[in-house]
């Protein structure tokens, strides 16, 4: 019932420019290139594949975005890190057995809407708040 991200999604890279990364010795410790950094991924759920399109009018499918990747110190600008995540990463480095790493998680969510028929052929438009991941971060 699900398919791989669409072609254009392959082009999507980290939305936070590497130009703003902190320079210096940290780069030697955690080079971002080649590393699986925290970023937004897409898992497209097709309503057509599920056989729902005879009563779901729109959309044709649902882009179930999710966040995936590592939050490794230093959490520079390319990871959209919160101050809390930076502190947690530092404490994790000091006490790795007791304090977990900061999580790669949604930092901004938006709404999505679904238009469908009910059993009486009335048409219903339902809005769901905080359903779509807009950005990911640490």
């Amino acid at each position: 019932a699900v398919r791989q991200p669409r072609k254009k999604q392959h082009k999507r890279t980290n939305s936070f420019p590497h130009a703003n990364r902190l320079p210096g010795s940290f780069d030697d410790v955690h080079p971002s290139e080649g590393k699986h950094v925290c970023r937004r991924q897409e898992l497209y759920v097709s309503f057509q594949d599920l056989g729902w399109l005879n009563w779901v009018i729109a959309p044709q499918g649902y882009s179930a975005f999710y966040c995936q990747g590592d939050c490794a110190f230093p959490l520079d600008s390319c990871m959209n890190a919160t101050n809390h995540a930076i502190l947690q990463s530092l404490v994790h480095l000091m006490k790795p057995d007791t304090v977990p790493k900061a999580c790669c998680a949604p930092t901004k969510l938006s709404a999505t809407s679904v238009l469908y028929y009910d059993s009486n052929n009335n048409v219903i438009l339902k809005k769901h708040r905080n359903m779509v991941v807009k950005t990911c971060g640490c």
Partner: protein, 252 residues
């Protein structure tokens, strides 16, 4: 202490290698998606497969859907103010097709009227009405001068009486030129609120047309289309609901 530490370290979701879901797991996942999107877990409605439903309401709702989707994208800054007001704060918008239509036309005594009934048994509970419109299409009146003003009034039928006139509540009154053509929208929020609070209400609206001189006009002759008009121009009610401000989702 070690167990507690292990639990905390494992608090981030682990990266699993993808695996194929079993049929049962797939069905459970689909049910979860349906539940999350507030969709009833069923196949197509009986009527939708065989006879196409009236298309005026779906077309209007599709327009609203696009407006709502663009609001999600651009925070609604590029909308017309009227559309933004209607959708602001609405979590659910429902359109109701006219299921019964009664006419008191020129074959009856005056006053003439048109009555519309709606099936609102599926209106959501725990939500409040923010706005409601009765939408009806008006063609050019063929029997009137196009510059003549017509007064169109919409009433909620509060109670039906078998041997005397029904109890009516005025909802909206608007003036149009006889030559006007297009969709007319009347505010019926008060009726929708009554219907939401008390399902035993009649669920019917009555429409009257009068001239400046108070002369009753047959709504059909004034150009107002009912159930027998083209499918894309059939009357319907659209209601905007706002969900109760519950801060947390109910656990499933």
């Amino acid at each position: 202490g070690e167990r507690q530490a292990a639990r905390r370290v494992a608090s981030c979701p682990q990266q699993h290698s993808p695996r194929r879901l079993s049929g049962r797991e797939k069905r459970e996942m689909q049910r979860e998606i349906l539940a999350l999107l507030g969709l009833p877990g069923r196949s197509a409605p009986a009527g939708a497969r065989h006879s196409p439903p009236p298309s005026a309401a779906p077309l209007f709702m599709l327009d609203l859907y696009r407006a709502m989707a663009s609001q999600d994208e651009d925070d609604g800054t590029s909308w017309a103010p009227q559309r933004r007001r209607a959708l602001d704060g609405a979590d659910t918008v429902m359109s109701f097709v006219n299921v019964v239509e009664l006419d008191r036309d020129i074959f009856y005594q005056k006053p003439y009227w048109k009555e519309f009934r709606f099936d609102l048994t599926q209106i959501p509970t725990g939500e409040s009405v923010t706005a409601a419109e009765f939408r009806i299409y008006k063609m050019q009146s063929v029997t009137r001068h196009i510059n003549q003003t017509l007064h169109v009034s919409i009433y909620e039928i509060v109670q039906d009486h078998p041997n005397r006139e029904s109890e009516l509540l005025l909802l909206d009154l608007q003036d149009f030129l006889a030559g006007t053509e297009g969709w007319l929208a009347f505010d019926v929020a008060a009726a929708s609120n009554h219907w939401l609070l008390n399902r035993k209400y009649n669920l019917a609206l009555r429409l009257y047309v009068e001239t400046d001189a108070g002369q009753s006009i047959d709504p059909g002759l004034a150009g107002l289309l009912g159930r027998h008009g083209p499918r894309s121009k059939q009357p319907f009610v659209v209601t905007f609901f706002r969900a109760s401000q519950s801060p947390a989702r109910l656990p499933r």
